[in-house]
């Protein structure tokens, strides 16, 4: 399967396919316990990350808590 072109945190990115959201996090070296994943504007809960497949053109946001008032 060819690479998947997705938008990750607002920037274009190529991901080796096939891939799930869990694969994406692993590839980025991120711990799923400290990140919240939004896939095409829908929040994906942690247990579902491994069963949610990425498709070309998908938009993914990875957010976490930072300092704020």
């Amino acid at each position: 399967m060819p690479d998947l072109s997705i938008t990750l945190n607002g920037r274009p990115r190529s991901v080796p396919g096939p891939a799930t959201l869990d694969d994406l996090l692993r590839g980025l070296g991120l711990d799923a316990r400290t990140v919240v994943v939004e896939h095409n504007r829908c929040i994906v809960r942690r247990p579902k990350l491994g069963e949610t497949a990425l498709a070309a053109g998908d938009s993914v946001e990875l957010v976490h808590f930072v300092g704020g008032g």
């Binding site: 400290t34 919240v36 990875l62 957010v63 976490h64 930072v66 300092g67 704020g68 008032g69």
Partner: protein, 268 residues
């Protein structure tokens, strides 16, 4: 407590209850703008705060190290209150609130819907819309508001767990600009009133608590102090002193002097 000295500072007061949870400290602090994470952690410890606010932002994928604030603030030690800072519409704020809840700590949110980039004053219309939707979605909403009684009443009607009127604009350090408004809001609302934003130094915090409000949330006053840890120490005591003074009930203001020493028994 009348006439007796409390054994401890906490005996002066009842716990602060918000959204069904009780908190010892009436001082809440933000985690932004500190010069270092070590400064932040020490200042928060010195403040005695239990509720600590955090923001939701994209993970910086260019950095190899995970910079999540949770590395510095153990969630079992602090009550993490996520904000929707930086949101300029109800829809954006709702999106951020849902992402924050998914992080899995609690269903509280400090709701901010900002209406103007220069003053960071709230967009009250968007705020009310977002508050209603988030309350319906099960959130405990603490709404950052202007110091307007009618808006505060509407936020309470919308089901907010607390209303957070400003003392003065975010990050301004101008102190409590309208004590009358804050007092009126406190007198008329049933839900807790926590003054958020604008406190610059300890006397501001003390005067604010003397209005009878339930608590204060501050960030810049600590983060931008030359010595954040010492300022946090001062703020903790100012909040406690202001609260105690409110509970004690101040003497009336008079336009004339009244002698403190007996007027009888003076020498002829």
């Amino acid at each position: 407590m009348t006439g007796t000295l409390p054994a401890t500072e906490s005996a002066l007061d009842t716990p602060l209850e918000i959204g069904g949870r009780a908190f010892r400290s009436r001082l809440m602090v933000g985690t932004g703008k500190y010069r270092s994470s070590a400064d932040m952690v020490r200042a928060i410890e010195a403040s005695g705060a239990e509720i600590v606010t955090v923001a939701v932002r994209r993970v910086d994928l260019d950095r190899s190290k995970d910079e999540s604030i949770l590395h510095h603030l153990p969630p079992d030690q602090y009550f993490l209150l996520a904000n929707t800072a930086g949101c300029y519409s109800a829809d954006e704020a709702i999106r951020y609130a849902r992402l924050a809840r998914e992080a899995g700590f609690n269903d509280f949110v400090k709701l901010e819907v900002i209406g103007d980039r220069e003053t960071l004053l709230p967009d009250t219309e968007g705020l009310l819309t977002a508050a209603r939707e988030l309350v319906a979605d099960g959130f405990k909403v603490l709404a950052y508001s202007n110091d307007d009684l009618i808006m505060a009443l509407r936020l309470e009607d919308a089901g907010c767990a607390a209303v957070m009127p400003l003392a003065s604009p975010i990050g301004s350090g101008l102190g409590l600009l309208n004590p009358y408004s804050i007092r009126t809001i406190k007198r008329r609302l049933g839900v807790p009133v926590v003054v958020d934003a604008g406190v610059g130094t300890a006397s501001d915090a003390c005067v604010t608590m003397e209005q009878g409000v339930d608590g204060i949330l501050m960030n810049t006053a600590l983060a931008e102090a030359r010595d954040p840890v010492t300022m946090a120490w001062a703020m903790r005591r100012a909040v406690e002193a202001g609260r105690a003074a409110f509970l004690a009930g101040r003497m009336p203001r008079r336009e004339v002097a009244v002698p403190s020493s007996p007027t009888k028994g003076l020498l002829e």
